[in-house]
């Protein structure tokens, strides 16, 4: 048996004992740390440290290659290849000198850079950096020890670089901060999910914290890990003695914590910063007093985003369906025009509406699907932290999107066709995905639940041949239109039940098809959803903006005893009471419409004042007997005026003012649909921009929201906008005013330049200036017409300007 196979055999069967800190040992011998040439120039020192760990019982020699890669060594006199070769030679020499039976693990560490979009390193560049290390080391080591990574995305690049280029075992060690998360926000459960699904051989944590601080993280990892787990804490927290950094925990205390962790179920141990051979020796002695108690936990179906981990288990999880161009002309247009930001905003709104996973599909004709899907995934993951469901029938698009995806994706989908499974399963396997299996094969969608169930079983069987365990499969029993194939709606439900009970797998359904062609589609949809959930449906793919459907899930979770204490239900529906009350009033007083509208007007007023968006929108929809413009002037504006007065008098703070403004804008949007298009009631437009050199746009955005709530049309040019661009916009939009914002004294000069350009070009429209460094004096000095001290003042100025124009 070769050494790497022996290592795999040991992992999880008995304790694997790693080595300890290297830097602290160098420091102890008076040798400078962080010297890339140490392996070459002072091999004796390196070998001496390896020997010390081997002699005290370490079974692993990790090569002295921390921080060795092309990024760290840029400009160095040593090449990566030289350093790696010397480091491996030193490790081998130490084993020869001590005659110990130890494994040589290549120590692979972070590049020190953050990957895009958090930093400036491309995923592919990170991959190539790690691949180079693998290529230089793979023939001379027994395995790879990935350690001290604080970014899970970078770990993915490192793991792929190893697994795609050799067959050696991998131990992957994450580093956690004192808040219990990795630097980039991944939780312990997220880390376990990612590392296990990517197929490493052993999980590990190291560095950053001492053993005491690591205990809760170890506990969380052991509560879900199926793979064996190794721990390498620091010797406590770093302290500074005036000359050097030192660590406070001595070997005996350190070992006592390792003993606790052994009882919790760890399968290996070692040390990191500040630990010495004495620490490792003490741990080995401590281990004799404890039983090896590693036991794998049950498999679970989990997918992860950049910071969120979702388990498809007991709870019903809403997967938002709106990032799919089918039947959505606006999204089709946005995709065709490359306006990915608009699509991201739609994603954010779905999450705010309660979606826990988002389906992402860009399938429109004549589009470069692999490129656009990849671009959109990158863009979404800049701002969205929930797991994504990558939805494509193009295996190339799936492969590229899954590769750059930061997390464990849900892959939509395979079906019972052999060629589809053969092309998609390798992608799922390689990137650790969870895959949706559709109950359709070469013969189409079978009419009966039994036949669909057979396809589900064949998908599971075929997946296993590709090394994908069944818990990484979710079955879609497929929803057909009840109006056309009425008998089959219940077959779908039966199949959901069979997959749940007999295969124990998670299930998904795309809901909205079922009601197509029938009146009152929402009623059919939510009834079908309730039936499906009772049969075991866990991942409905649906429109999260449909409050009735979302409410059905919430209610089911309460009645099915999944939502403990009905806490989610209460949180999501605490405002519904007023809605029901207002509806009841409407129903009970149908004989008196004026009374009905009067009640609604009162509810609307309160909802705007309190910033209750849903209630306000639902209420205004009921106010059918009041002319839209009367709703605006008699109810909406007075509510906003009250909020404005409360803000001016200090009763409420700015976010509350804005919540009311946002609510009023939504109400206004509803009313706009009913306002006679011939009615020229447009107020504006007003152009807003944060001037050149200034990237702070929060103040400008506040003004925008409040202006919009008062019915002004706003053209928002964004931040860091050049004078010439503002002039071009003025020519294009013919606004009634221009609003300029600046936060820094250094950028006020650009504000003055902008005003000068407009005036030199003969533009006479008023310019309103605002921002933290502005005052009436500064406004006067730079040629502004009005100083908007805050959002409410800007509204008053805008009303003044508008009224002057109106009178003219």
């Amino acid at each position: 048996m070769n050494r790497s196979k022996e290592l795999v055999e040991i992992i999880g069967k008995r304790f694997l004992i790693s080595d300890g800190g290297f830097g602290s040992m160098l420091q102890k011998h008076g040798i400078k740390t962080g010297d890339a040439g140490l392996n070459i120039n002072n091999p004796e020192a390196v070998i001496r440290i390896h020997e010390a760990y081997l002699n005290c019982g370490s079974q692993i020699v990790t090569t002295n290659t921390f921080g060795i890669d092309r990024i760290h060594l840029e400009g160095s006199e040593y090449s990566v290849k030289q350093v790696i070769a010397a480091a491996i030679t030193n490790a081998k020499q130490a084993i020869t000198n001590t005659s110990k039976d130890a494994f040589i693990m290549y120590d692979m560490s972070s590049t020190g850079k953050l990957l895009k979009p958090l930093g400036d390193l491309d995923f592919d560049e990170a991959y190539e950096t790690f691949k180079e290390l693998v290529d230089f080391a793979k023939n001379d080591v027994d395995g790879f020890f990935i350690e001290t990574f604080s970014d899970l995305y970078e770990m993915k690049a490192a793991i792929l670089a190893i697994k795609e280029n050799c067959n050696l075992p991998v131990i992957a060690s994450a580093t956690f901060s004192s808040n219990g998360k990795m630097l980039t926000g991944a939780s312990p459960i997220q880390v376990v999910t990612m590392l296990e699904n990517l197929g490493v051989d052993m999980l590990a944590v190291n560095c950053s914290l001492g053993p005491k601080e690591l205990l809760p993280i170890v506990d969380q990892i052991l509560s879900v890990a199926t793979l064996p787990f190794l721990v390498q804490p620091n010797a406590g927290l770093p302290r500074f003695d005036g000359v050097n950094t030192y660590y406070e925990i001595d070997p005996i205390e350190f070992a006592s914590y390792i003993g606790q962790m052994i009882d919790m179920g760890i399968a290996g141990f070692g040390g990191c910063c500040g630990t010495t051979p004495e620490h490792i020796k003490a741990c080995i002695e401590e281990s004799y007093k404890h039983e090896f108690s590693y036991s794998p936990k049950n498999n679970a179906t989990r997918v992860t985003g950049t910071m969120k981990c979702v388990e498809i288990g007991n709870r019903v999880i809403c997967c938002g369906e709106r990032l799919n161009p089918t039947g959505k002309p606006k999204m089709k247009l946005a995709l065709a025009e490359g306006r990915l930001d608009d699509i991201v905003t739609e994603g954010i709104k779905q999450i705010e509406a309660g979606a826990k996973v988002l389906d992402v599909n860009v399938g429109i004709p004549n589009i470069d699907e692999p490129q656009i899907l990849t671009d959109l995934i990158i863009k979404l993951q800049e701002l969205i932290d929930v797991p994504l469901q990558i939805d494509s029938s193009d295996p190339v698009a799936l492969d590229r999107a899954c590769r750059i995806y930061n997390g464990i994706p849900l892959v939509n989908s395979v079906n019972g066709k052999k060629e589809v499974m053969d092309s998609v399963f390798p992608i799922v396997k390689k990137y650790g995905g969870v895959v949706i299996g559709l109950c359709i094969d070469d013969k189409g969608i079978p009419p009966t639940s039994d036949e669909r169930f057979e396809i589900a079983k064949s998908i599971v069987k075929e997946a296993q041949k590709h090394g994908i365990p069944s818990h990484r499969i979710i079955i879609d029993s497929l929803v057909l239109t009840a109006s056309a194939q009425q008998k089959e709606a219940i077959e779908t439900i039966k199949c959901v039940s069979m997959v749940t009970k007999e295969l124990g797998l998670g299930t998904t359904l795309g809901l909205s098809n079922v009601s197509f062609g029938l009146p009152n589609r929402p009623l059919i949809n939510r009834t079908f959803l309730a039936m499906a959930m009772q049969a075991g449906l866990k991942l409905p793919i649906m429109n999260p903006f449909d409050r009735e459907l979302m409410g059905t899930i919430d209610a089911y979770e309460v009645l099915g005893n999944f939502d403990e204490g009905a806490s989610s239900y209460i949180e999501n529906h605490k405002d519904d009471v007023s809605t029901v009350a207002s509806s009841s009033k409407s129903i009970s007083s149908t004989s008196d419409n004026s009374n009905d509208d009067s009640n609604s007007a009162s509810v609307l007023f309160d909802a705007i004042v309190k910033g209750q968006k849903t209630l306000a929108v639902e209420t205004v929809k009921q106010m059918k007997d009041i002319a839209p413009l009367d709703v605006v002037s008699l109810h909406m504006i007075p509510a906003l005026d009250k909020v404005g007065a409360d803000y001016d008098s200090g009763k409420i703070f700015l976010p509350q003012l804005m919540m009311s403004a946002e609510t009023a804008k939504l109400v206004f949007d509803v009313l706009k649909e009913n306002i006679d298009s011939g009615n020229d009631n447009k107020k504006g437009p007003i152009i807003l921009a944060t001037v050149e050199g200034d990237v702070h746009d929060i103040g400008k955005n506040i003004v925008k929201v409040v202006l919009q709530s008062y019915g002004f049309e706003v053209v928002d040019l964004g931040k860091d906008i050049k004078a010439s661009e503002i002039y071009d916009a003025v020519v294009n939009y013919n606004p009634i005013a221009v609003g300029l914002s600046a936060l820094m004294t250094t950028t006020v000069v650009y504000m003055r330049k902008t005003i000068e350009l407009l005036r030199n070009k003969g533009i006479k429209i008023p310019v309103i200036v605002g921002g933290a460094v502005l005052s009436q004096d500064v406004c006067d000095q730079i040629g502004g017409d009005y100083y908007g001290k805050d959002a409410m003042e800007t509204v008053r100025i805008a009303e003044t300007i508008y009224n002057k124009i109106d009178r003219k």
Partner: protein, 197 residues
């Protein structure tokens, strides 16, 4: 970090919102949920460096450093407390907080404003805690480039001179603004105890 909406953390957020009244229960709940959301996405990193002070022509200067501290507020502060050392430190909440704030720009601007104010307060609390963890109490006022009459350009000198800061994933732009935005540098003077320097 413990979220204390009724303590300094909440008071600072209210200050950033320019709110001077006693907050209502509803307002405190809004602050709490915002601080909690920041905790979900923060990626706190901190680093520091100690400097010895020397007197050159009657003015304080950092020994073996190119960082210019010849600004009246800093000179007065160090002189008043008879400091012989200075610690300069940097803390950041990380890019995740900036991105979360940005994500609300179109969909929920009021949330954006709340988070922005709370994040500004949060980074101050993080910096306070880091300062305490270094054993530095309130020896002197904590100055930062851009504060009072200390020019922002000092930020550039700090970043160029302190290599420890370059590892923290914080960048300076041409206007000396730090990215991520919710980052904070601080300069504190102190009298060295035995062994500290």
């Amino acid at each position: 970090m413990i979220i204390d909406v009724e303590g300094l953390m909440g008071q600072r957020a209210l200050k950033y919102l320019r709110y001077t009244e006693k907050p209502s229960k509803e307002q405190l709940e809004l602050l709490f949920s915002s601080f909690s959301e920041i905790q979900e996405v923060e990626m706190i990193e901190s680093a520091h460096k100690y400097f010895q002070l020397e007197l050159c022509d009657g003015k304080y200067a950092l020994k073996d450093s190119q960082i210019n501290i010849d600004y009246p507020p800093i000179q007065n502060m160090l002189g008043k407390k008879k400091s012989d050392s200075v610690c300069i430190f940097l803390s950041t909440l990380g890019i995740g907080v900036d991105r979360r704030i940005e994500s609300y720009k179109d969909s929920n601007p009021s949330r954006m404003v709340l988070l922005d104010a709370c994040a500004s307060s949060y980074i101050e609390s993080v910096t306070d805690e880091y300062q305490r963890s270094l054993g530095l109490g309130d020896e002197t006022f904590r100055y930062a480039p851009g504060y009072g009459k200390v020019p922002l350009i000092m930020q550039k000198e700090i970043f160029e001179s302190i290599s420890e800061f370059r590892k923290l994933h914080v960048e300076l732009d041409e206007n000396c603004i730090m990215h991520p935005f919710k980052s904070m540098t601080g300069l504190v003077g102190f009298r060295s105890k035995e062994g500290r320097i």
